[in-house]
């Protein structure tokens, strides 16, 4: 099966945007639902990607692993490990004000990147890990991408359904109460730290799953790929623009902002060469301005949260 150039590009675009949508869904649970300020998205994403890569690649002489396991084991391992990392970050910070979590998550993301870059025995160092196997492969490049897109859509659908369902459940209502006013929630007898920890761990696990999908799609991971700009800041813009309080906002924001981001890259490629060297900076300025404009003009994002009373209608 062959796809035309444009359709093939649309598939490629949707896979990456879909991976961003998963990250954005994880952050929706942490920030949009519970009010946890995680600015280390790239760290959880990187741990997922590396875990999956190490579990599924064939054994290598230069570093520990790989373990040659199937894709499903990589995905499960990535999800689990990122969740555990969420727990580790949560323990010192979730008892404290949200600013501390923000600072600690920036720190953990940077630390993870340093460790991956400087410990070649653990994860290949700056060279990274290559030859990560792709599931459902073998029917030509375009068809393979299409098959992978199906996996990504399945993952988004699962996460979306669970999060939407969880949002309406008693558990989700406690999280919303914590977001709105922690003191009130704890006065009503809710164990605030435990609920926050659960949201932190589940959100981080979803980010880890996104990392696993990314590693298997690209086939290669290196510390450079996990700059906070690409996988933390962009995800925050996506969620804020889309509307942080609902899963639909997270997914819509991811596709929209990924469109703006890649569209800007495309537009800049037509500018004269002298301007192109500055293109990266211009693109970031554009997206940062979009973020600030949304915060100033429509802080709830494009998809608004239903008010408490419409939850039962």
């Amino acid at each position: 099966m062959e796809l035309s150039g444009l359709a093939a590009y649309a598939v490629f675009f949707s896979v990456i945007a879909g991976i961003y949508a998963l990250l954005s869904l994880g952050l929706h649970l942490q920030w949009g639902r519970t009010g946890l300020f995680n600015v280390g998205v790239s760290g959880f994403f990187a741990v997922g990607a590396y875990a999956s890569a190490l579990l599924t690649t064939p054994p290598a002489a230069q570093h520990v692993g790989g373990f040659g396991m199937p894709f499903a084991a990589g995905l499960a391992g990535a999800t689990l490990l990122a969740g555990v990392l969420g727990l580790v970050v949560g323990v010192p910070t979730l008892r404290l004000k949200e600013d501390y979590l923000a600072i600690a998550t920036i720190g953990i993301a940077e630390t993870i990147r340093q460790v991956f870059a400087n410990e070649p025995r653990l994860a290949g160092g700056v060279q990274g890990l290559r030859d990560i196997p792709r599931p459902l492969r073998g029917a030509g490049a375009a068809a393979d991408n299409l098959a992978f897109l199906a996996i990504v859509i399945l993952a988004i659908a699962a996460a979306w359904w669970c999060l939407a369902r969880a949002g309406r459940s008693p558990w989700g209502r406690v999280l919303t109460a914590i977001r709105e006013d922690e003191v009130v929630a704890s006065a009503l007898g809710k164990d605030v730290v435990r609920f926050k920890m659960e949201a932190m761990v589940v959100g981080s696990a979803i980010m880890g799953a996104a990392g696993s999908l990314y590693a298997h799609f690209i086939g290669f991971v290196s510390p450079d790929a996990f700059e906070p700009l690409a996988f933390t800041f962009l995800v925050w813009v996506m969620l804020t623009v889309g509307g942080s309080a609902r899963p639909s906002g997270a997914v819509a924001g991811a596709f929209l902002i990924w469109g703006v981001w890649t569209g800007a890259e495309f537009a800049v490629s037509h500018l004269p060469a002298t301007v192109q060297t500055k293109a990266g900076a211009l693109r970031v300025i554009l997206v940062a301005l979009v973020l600030e404009a949304i915060l100033l003009l429509r802080p709830e994002g494009l998809v608004r949260e239903k008010k408490g009373t419409d939850l039962f209608s």
């Binding site: 300020f37 600072i103 400087n118 925050w236 300025i285 973020l291 600030e292 802080p299």
Partner: protein, 286 residues
């Protein structure tokens, strides 16, 4: 070892300057300003711009400080002030956006390459105890010490300084006492901007001027501020010096590229053991 302590004091002095501004804005506006590091970067580049216009180093540095204050006040007016009523987390997101805006505007205007305030190589003095100290490093230590004394005098002796301490202690009470809190906010950004620019210039003098210099310093500066007790200027001074020395001394055992990790480890230890910081009071409900 003594050499490492001296190097640590140099780094720590810069952390302290940056940290005082960060902790003052936190104390009064109750949000962690993630754009503070990039205000440092901007300060260094503004000084570089003035040097490029033909000014000698000293006046260029002095002139860049009020420009840094203006930049900080400008960001507040354009972005933070309209969002202030909506709570500290919205400000936190806005400050991350502001950080990227500032950094990429610097990148756009000056390009990604490293720059230096002076081209010539300085000969280090050999001090007793085998410590090597370059004249620039001595200057950094003197400027940091002098700034800390000035900030102390400002906070304890001047009216706006006293108003700032009152507002940091209890904003509502300060307002009830007739303190113009908008003026206090203006002073806070002004002082924070001057100190951030000073820290950026000194960092540029010690290492080099790069667009990511301030962002990379943000984590250790936050660690220093939390170590000292967030919202407390004297805590930021003590925390900065302690953290700088701890990071340098750690290089005797740990590979130097893990300096940032050392700062992070100290941060986590403080959060676990004494989240209010060394000089902070135990948390109260506010």
């Amino acid at each position: 070892m003594l050499q490492l302590v001296v190097n640590g004091a140099i780094a720590g002095g810069i952390y302290a300057l940056a940290g005082i501004g960060l902790t003052l804005t936190y104390g009064i506006l109750r949000f962690a300003n993630f754009a503070h590091g990039d205000l440092m970067t901007l300060g260094a580049y503004l000084a570089l711009l003035l040097v490029g216009l033909g000014l000698p180093l000293a006046p260029a540095f002095l002139l860049a400080l009020p420009l840094g204050a203006l930049a900080a006040i400008g960001v507040d007016r354009a972005l933070y002030r309209p969002l202030r009523r909506r709570g500290s987390t919205v400000l936190l997101i806005a400050s991350i956006g502001a950080a990227l805006l500032l950094r990429n505007l610097v990148l756009l205007s000056w390009g990604p390459q490293m720059r230096y305030f002076r081209e010539e190589i300085q000969i280090a003095w050999r001090l007793p105890g085998g410590v090597m100290l370059k004249p620039d490093q001595a200057l950094i230590l003197v400027v940091c010490a002098a700034s800390i004394v000035l900030v102390h005098l400002f906070l304890t002796r001047s009216r706006p300084g006293k108003a700032m301490r009152a507002a940091a202690d209890n904003l509502d009470l300060a307002r009830v006492c007739g303190i113009d809190t908008e003026r206090v906010v203006l002073w806070t950004w002004g002082i924070g901007g001057v100190l951030a620019a000073a820290a950026g210039i000194l960092l540029g003098l010690e290492i080099q001027v790069r667009p990511v210099m301030g962002w990379e310093l943000l984590l250790p500066v936050f660690a220093a501020v939390i170590l000292g007790g967030i919202g407390r200027p004297y805590g930021a001074m003590a925390g900065g010096l302690l953290l700088g020395v701890a990071q340098e001394v750690s290089t005797a055992w740990i590979a130097p590229h893990y300096k940032g990790t050392v700062a992070f480890a100290i941060l986590v230890a403080v959060l676990l053991l004494r989240p209010q910081g060394l000089l902070g009071r135990a948390r109260r409900w506010s």
